[in-house]
Symmetry: C2
Subunit: 334 residues, 2 copies
Amino acid sequence: MTTTREIHLAARPVGWPTANDFALVQRDLPPLAAGQVLVRNQYMSVDPYMRGRMNDAKSYTPAFPLGEPLVGGAVGEVVESTVDGLAAGDLVLHGLGWREHAIVDGGGVTKLDSVTGVSPSRYLGALGMPGLTAHVGLLDIAAFQPGDTVFVSGAAGAVGALVGQIARLRGAKRVIGSAGSAGKVAYLTDRLGFDAAFNYRDGDVHGQLAAAAPDGIDVYFDNVGGDHLEAAIGRLNVGGRVALCGAISMYNASEPQPGPNNLALAVGKRLSLRGFIVSDHFDRLPEVVAEVGGWLRDGELVADETVVDGLDNAVDAFLGMLRGTNTGKMIVRL
Amino acid sequence: MTTTREIHLAARPVGWPTANDFALVQRDLPPLAAGQVLVRNQYMSVDPYMRGRMNDAKSYTPAFPLGEPLVGGAVGEVVESTVDGLAAGDLVLHGLGWREHAIVDGGGVTKLDSVTGVSPSRYLGALGMPGLTAHVGLLDIAAFQPGDTVFVSGAAGAVGALVGQIARLRGAKRVIGSAGSAGKVAYLTDRLGFDAAFNYRDGDVHGQLAAAAPDGIDVYFDNVGGDHLEAAIGRLNVGGRVALCGAISMYNASEPQPGPNNLALAVGKRLSLRGFIVSDHFDRLPEVVAEVGGWLRDGELVADETVVDGLDNAVDAFLGMLRGTNTGKMIVRL
């Protein structure tokens, strides 16, 4: 019998979570049933949406149960299989992260056809959920067209960095990002090829956006809400489009946050604001792997990772990601 | 030389307008130039959007100039014409209301093919801009589908009354309206065939909407903004759609109004909110005249009017419309 370790949700965080809300638990692995695979996880993902699922609020994705292991994207190697078409040594993507070993039903596993020269961790980032979120949000939800000026908040994060680069590679007129430090701002312009960027912690988001977008913006990809959304509404051109992708600030808010005080501008400017959830769009993932994988291989797109080692450090990685200590995708290597 | 009378914007209203912001002016009509028609106006429209155009704020429709006649929809009879295809006696629709006679360029005039048995004033209401606004907002902007539950605010107004009835006639599961008096609420359910209605002046818009829509709503047609929009966002089902049509409360606001404090729900519920301006959609008017005209003739759709007589009373009609003294379309007969 193999023992393994996993991280449980010990308490529902109120506001910003702390280490006390989690527990590292050791347990024995049960024997494999028919139709299951045992996976040794190599990489697991920590993502902003996980914070939302720690709340008990009525939502359209179920809350994580207390006292049970958390879930999330993971990539690993099959150790044992009772599923046809999956054998020991196969590299797979599945939804049971936050643990060193996972026993997964065959239907919950995607066998990865590696993109040559790309780390398996990419399937948790540029070639996985963050890549799909950026692609669908920009192209479908915000209906991006070549020639658009695009603004993305949280632009140094896993999703934001891809939104800006996909926009650039698909012919945006101008790509603008906001982030939370001078270092990240330099990273956006110097390494990711953004045309302009600003540090929202310097204040006056409206003024900084106006300076960065003298001719207005056509698309706003919202990872932040709050004053960013209000500034974007003020700056959007006629026919402008907003993809509402969720916001760390909202997940951690204990009270309702005031909405944008200029939403009435949406009438005269014919704006559209659309919320979306990436899990509605998993059928589009192969398209993203093909397009973004090609750009990655050719060096046209940068997908940096902040890698933290060991399940013991997974909670710190998650908390750090919420605070913005990562640049690009935050990954835990197990 | 014929003298005529017209109403000028004398001052820019601050907040709610008063009679002092307008002036009734008598003047001589100049001789007709080539390519013009002289029209004796029979009916003119007073509409909420006109309040917006009295502000000097930067907008996407130009502000009404001070010291000049107001403009707006009007129907009248051609008295004299130098335009091919338009002759004395023709009934025409044009954009120079707020005056007893109008001299209009030929290109600004639409000759009306009357729908038999329907008053010409209909072309300012159900068969005109309000009808087009209701049709486009419900069907295109909010992407109404048979089986949807629809909520419309300002439901006893010219646009709202049509939104609810078009939804009913096109197969809504349930139609809910809000209005500003007990009499209007009874009017919505008893005369217009709404399934439920409530008086927002009784307070607790969230609670009243929840009671009227136990299974949630799929479409919200927003004529009001503020707490109605917030309540609608709270009550919208997954995939819900909002048509943002402008709001009297917004036009008269001197300060920015707080936005809905629950806009973050748009992410998980995959909501879309879209603003629109009817003038982008004038090409759809013949379709509206055909469909709504048919329903009107067959008695399936009610389009009541509140008719005020005489240009001397046009300002009062406009101010009354802003306060909600009308039921259905407010019309001035000249």
